[in-house]
């Protein structure tokens, strides 16, 4: 016996429609919800970027109630749509690299972060790009982020390298500083603009 047929008759006609709509938090054309996964070497400042974005501050001594490994933040765009980012941080150490697919599965956005003072982290970023191209969902929006732009006197990865690599791979590129908040909001706004919109029915 199918379970649907054993349901009270009066409600069975409305099941499917109600099941998808209404449930709070389920996205519609005006209110998007997207899973964003952060990838990048440990120490490039992934969690600082998120904290800056979510709390608008860098102060590491500020009281927060949970860790920065999962955070969500909603932004409003000019076309009066809102985008709720659910931001999934990943552990960047080499020994955990094999676990990344568990995290980027189902992600609509991947933000790949490197540190402009560390060529190794840029190499690692390229590794993640290739991995996502191979195993990520095909319509994932990817952004390449060179963080710690405030440390320009220690810069070892030229801006042009980032621009070139991103262009070649059809990615959005930006340099940020979680410390000074430079370009942090821009990063997320640009991503929001690039999200595929559900076709309005």
């Amino acid at each position: 016996m199918g379970c649907a047929s054993s349901l009270p008759g009066r409600s069975s006609g409305r099941l499917t429609g109600l099941n998808n709509a209404e449930n709070s938090g389920v996205p519609d054309a005006k209110n998007l919800r997207v899973k964003l996964v952060l990838l990048g070497d440990s120490g490039v400042g992934k969690s600082c970027i998120v904290l800056r974005f979510v709390r608008g501050q860098f102060d590491p001594t500020s009281k927060v109630t949970v860790g920065a490994s999962f955070l969500s933040q909603t932004i409003a765009l000019q076309d009066s749509t809102t985008v709720k980012f659910e931001i999934w941080d990943t552990a960047g150490q080499e020994r955990y690299a094999a676990l990344a697919p568990l995290y980027y599965r189902g992600a609509g956005v991947a933000v790949i972060v490197y540190d402009i003072t560390s060529p190794e982290s840029f190499t690692k970023a390229q590794y993640w790009v290739k991995e996502l191209q191979k195993h990520g969902s095909p319509d994932i929006v990817m952004a390449l982020v060179g963080n710690k732009a405030d440390l320009h006197e220690n810069r070892e990865v030229p801006v042009q390298d980032g621009i070139d690599y991103a262009e070649k791979n059809g990615m959005f590129f930006i340099e940020t500083s979680a410390k000074t908040a430079d370009n942090i909001n821009q990063l997320f706004e640009e991503i929001a603009k690039r999200l595929p919109r559900p076709s309005s029915s």
Binding site: N19, A68, S69, R95
Partner: protein, 466 residues
């Protein structure tokens, strides 16, 4: 706390189900549960059936007058109540129901038992500033509660609570040390470390169960993130090798070997060990099984003239439960040993300990060697555990201390009634470790199956057996 909310949710749900207008719902739920038990377990199909049923029922609740004018929270709580009710009923059918899963659980648990003996926070890239093994025990405890619940949500809450504890500790540590706020770079390694140390029961089956039967629309956002971390911890642990811990291959193998030896020493059938000790002490092992294994350890190995105590075995057995158990002492000692850098030096006095069977010539040499190793480990652990610093084999002041303690306790426990009570208490404690039990020490033990929680009515059984 969160579990209490769900409890209220279930109460509220059951209340509504008692309304006459809910009769159709009750019928649907019952027939679903019944229809479920007609088929052999098939995780994919079962999971899909449960998910679809829950979704349909939730939608039906929403449209039903019983919930007319209710808030989203109330509807949500009804959904939680339904999930909890259905899954509690289906639990035994769908949890760890496949032999493969059971096997996976066992292998994973064994692996964690071994790795936890030697893994260090540094092996997982946990920075010193974030290391806090004592406080991590709190997180371990949350994880170890996972089998106390049957509902997928309650099990998930155990994981989420564990993650919360870790997050809070990391945050405090970052504030204290001026480190950057902790992200996944800090969180995941600690979660893995905590999981290995906690070795939560049936971890693989629990995760599969949550994944399959937690209502999918509720396994989202933060809960989904931390659940994914737990899955990823499991995956990492399952495939741990030398490289994953940045340990030299040979060093890793040595550690595993040491852990294996240590564990086999700790968990060996205690009767077997007792007989070895008896042999050393010059007693016939067969005789000795009459008494409880704990007093065997004390009577026959610690006390030189053990046979004299035979008539008082029963009293002795009850009294011994008052001092730290042998296994507690062992564990304590083992932990101390593992922290010592010079553990190989400690064992230098036992030439056969690291010998290979091929080094020796007699035919049953292997057996002998195994027994010897177990014995030495036990001894060292006991010595360490009882506070003795020196690890010289037969003579030991600390063992004498234990002996002394036993004597004192024994004498103070002269009252027969009191003894019985202690004996009963002890019986309750050991009811779960069936294999280690000595069957004729208390007749009443046979009245209880291994997996049964001993009911308070136990006294009656005892009376009849006396």
């Amino acid at each position: 706390m969160e579990n209490a909310d769900v409890f209220l949710g279930l109460q509220d749900f059951l209340e509504r189900m008692r309304q006459p207008t809910a009769a159709d719902f009750v019928k649907s739920i019952k027939s679903f549960i019944v229809s479920f038990s007609n088929n052999a377990p098939d995780p994919e199909r079962d999971s899909a059936a449960v998910q679809a049923f829950l979704a349909n029922m939730e939608a039906a609740f929403r449209a039903h007058p019983l919930w007319a004018g209710c808030s989203e929270e109330e509807l949500d709580s009804a959904g939680e109540g339904l999930e909890k009710y259905v899954m509690t009923k289906l639990f035994t059918r769908v949890f760890a129901s496949l032999p493969d899963d059971v096997k996976h659980d066992e292998q994973l648990s064994e692996k964690m038992a071994l790795i936890q003996q030697f893994v260090r926070p540094e092996n997982l890239d946990i920075k010193p500033a974030f290391q806090n093994e004592t406080s991590w025990l709190l997180a371990q405890k949350e994880l170890q509660k996972i089998n106390m619940y049957k509902a997928p949500r309650d099990k998930l809450v155990c994981i989420l609570n564990c993650c919360k504890v870790i997050n809070n500790l990391l945050l405090n540590a970052s504030l204290a040390s001026n480190e950057n706020p902790p992200g996944a770079d800090e969180f995941l390694p600690v979660l893995i470390y905590v999981t290995i140390k906690a070795n939560p029961p049936q971890l693989h089956s629990n995760l599969l169960y949550i994944q399959r039967y937690r209502r999918q629309s509720r396994l989202v956002a933060e809960a989904a993130y931390f659940f994914t971390n737990m899955l990823s911890a499991e995956s990492f642990i399952s495939s741990i090798d030398a490289k994953a811990l940045s340990i030299e291959e040979t060093e890793f193998e040595k550690n595993m070997e040491f852990a294996r030896a240590l564990l086999s020493g700790l968990s060996t059938d205690v009767d077997g060990l007792s007989s070895q000790i008896d042999q050393i002490a010059g007693h016939d092992p067969r005789e000795s099984t009459e008494s409880g294994h704990e007093n065997l350890m004390e009577d026959h190995s610690v006390r030189p003239k053990s046979s004299e105590t035979k008539p008082s075995n029963k009293e002795n057995q009850s009294s011994i439960t008052k001092i730290p158990s042998i296994s507690e002492l062992e564990n304590r000692g083992a932990a101390m040993l593992l922290k010592e850098d010079q553990r190989s030096k400690v064992f230098r006095d036992y030439p056969y300990l690291f010998a290979h069977a091929g080094d020796l010539t007699i035919s049953d040499v292997e057996d002998l060697l195994n027994n010897y190793k177990q014995l030495v480990f036990k001894y060292i652990c006991l010595l360490k555990g009882s506070g003795g610093g020196s690890a010289t084999f037969p003579s030991s002041g600390s063992l004498a201390q234990v002996h002394h303690h036993v004597e004192t306790v024994k004498e103070s426990a002269e009252n027969r009634v009191l003894e019985q009570n202690i004996g009963l208490q002890k019986d309750t404690d050991t009811v779960d470790d069936g294999p280690n039990r000595v069957s004729n020490q208390e007749n009443i033990e046979s009245d209880f199956s291994k997996d049964e929680v001993v009911p308070p009515s136990k006294d009656n059984h005892d009376d009849t057996s006396e």
